[in-house]
Symmetry: C2
Subunit: 325 residues, 2 copies
């Protein structure tokens, strides 16, 4: 067994975000539930884009955001995710590489275009997300770079990748390869509705294939179908080695075997909460793979999340290494 | 002669802006003069993009920004400019149409890609622009939609379009067609360095082909090679029917025959001065084509400029019609 050369290898949807302003009437006329994330098909994506106002494009994707933040904290990071060989795909690839992340997945040619999330920002600053998965749907076991997976201390899996049909099998194969190489497997639940769509698969994966679990309060309650956070935390502690559960301004709770640590949130001026959970997981894993104790992992997570919610966009804009030092 | 169906028909470079953060050392290592706008070729564009940090894409182009702002003020606007049939070209076309602007120019196929401006934002908030003209270089007389030109009260020409070689001839042809149809021709000088690169051509065009001239202080001084603003304003008044000369926080001066109006700037919190001149021209022309007197045209210009410099990005984010009402 060779020593790991990466700290974190993320696997997730490779998405470019397209942000535009919209008013409540625009959402109402199209039946878009405010604040939610919906999956849309090609036809709806084209119709919605044509109707949307002028946009701003930037790379996104939950797992990719985590990888970019972890790299900014000094971790050695790789990412696997499927773009197409098109303009948005080149933007995604540039941005993740420019963030210092190894990105070996070849682009899809001759198939669906690069995934995009059409995000409508209403005057109340809420974001309504409409995700067209495009090329991500083709991500499967053939895209698993097993050398990269075996070379990382932790494989980090984005729960949203349970939506594209081929990816669940790839998740299990990635987890198996990682564990066979003596590595750890982390997963984030991503979204309570995503948990609802795939609850049985998530529960089985968390119990059988994962070592580290990230979830916010709504997600962990959805996973265990309970309204009681303490009960959910106790069940998570039975299922995984470490569970890091975020609770917005109340901070996070880390349960690991008999240990339990409550970590406060970092005070900040909230501008845009997008990517808070992604950044928390990044900070946690960057510290954990750096050999830090669990409370310090939580502190790095809180600091990274605070930075990301203090401005628009889910990737860091200031020197995170300095913030955690 | 039929009645005009458009208020303003702009002609300019069709550019997508790519913004990334950079430090002073990055600029110094590449010899990029801070705060300037340089033209770069394909090789340098690719090398600079590969070296740049993660970016944010949004539609730009000076003349296109003016058209978007004028449309937001209720003017009926068209734009002619050349994108390629690629991802950035589709983004540009979507955004200008979503701004309410008629955009009939067909994309270039099989040639250079869509133009982009690689903008490096340093910690002091200055912007260093590196423009790859790409498909814009192929804009020529064949792209002049003469029906659209003849249908607009004013044809508005972006000075930056003096850089692509075929466009100067197209400018003169557009001006000739507009005047033959009884319309007015407006031009903005765009940039003192652009004036320096093409001074003789600019002077001849302003004197022989233009009715309305937009310039900031540095540009009008560069055009007439003088250090004296009053002298430059007097010479502009001889060359064109109306000259609207902007002076940043000192407001603007409008000279028209014997008339002279000083218009104050609108107070605002300055966040990003990009697009101030573009927005001023938009406000001025939206009011002028709406039959407003010159001081009111200047006031609309000041209000539009103040809105655009109060946030990042050169296109409006609030209801401009309400602001001028």
């Amino acid at each position: 067994m060779t020593a790991p050369t990466l700290d974190i290898l993320g696997i997730g949807n490779a998405i470019v975000d397209v942000l535009a302003r919209a008013d409540d009437a625009f959402l109402a006329a199209r039946g878009l539930p405010k604040g939610g994330m919906r999956l849309i098909d090609t036809t709806e994506a084209e119709a919605l884009y044509a109707a949307m106002g002028p946009g701003t494009e930037s790379s996104g994707g939950s797992g990719a955001n985590t990888c970019a933040v972890a790299a900014a904290l000094g971790a050695k990071v790789g990412f696997l995710g499927k773009v197409a060989d098109d303009g948005l795909g080149r933007i995604f690839a540039h941005d993740i590489k420019a963030a210092g992340v190894h990105f070996p997945t070849p682009p899809l040619t001759g198939g669906a275009p690069t995934a995009r999330c059409l995000i409508l920002v209403t005057p109340d600053a809420q974001r309504t997300m409409n995700t067209y998965l495009g090329a991500c749907v083709s991500f499967g076991e053939a895209d698993l770079d097993l050398d990269a997976i075996r070379s990382a201390k932790v494989v980090y899996l984005e729960g949203y990748l349970f939506d594209p049909p081929a990816a669940q099998a790839a998740f299990r194969a990635a987890a198996k390869a990682a564990r066979a190489a003596g590595r750890k497997v982390a997963i984030t639940l991503s979204d309570p509705f995503c948990v609802g769509r795939h609850r049985d698969a998530f529960r089985a994966f968390v119990r059988d294939d994962a070592d580290i679990l990230f979830a916010n309060e709504a997600e962990i309650l959805a996973l265990y179908e309970t309204g009681d956070f303490e009960e959910a935390a106790a069940r998570a502690a039975q299922d995984v080695e470490i569970a890091a559960l975020t609770r917005s301004e109340k901070g996070s709770v880390i349960v690991a075997g008999g240990e339990r640590h409550a970590v406060p949130a970092q005070p900040t001026q909230v501008v845009d909460t997008t990517g808070a959970g992604d950044a928390y997981a990044a900070g946690f894993l960057a510290a954990w793979t750096n050999g830090q104790p669990l409370p310090e992992c939580g502190r790095w997570g809180s600091i990274a999340a605070a930075e990301v919610i203090s401005h628009f966009g889910a990737r860091p804009q200031t020197d995170l290494k300095r913030l955690v030092a």
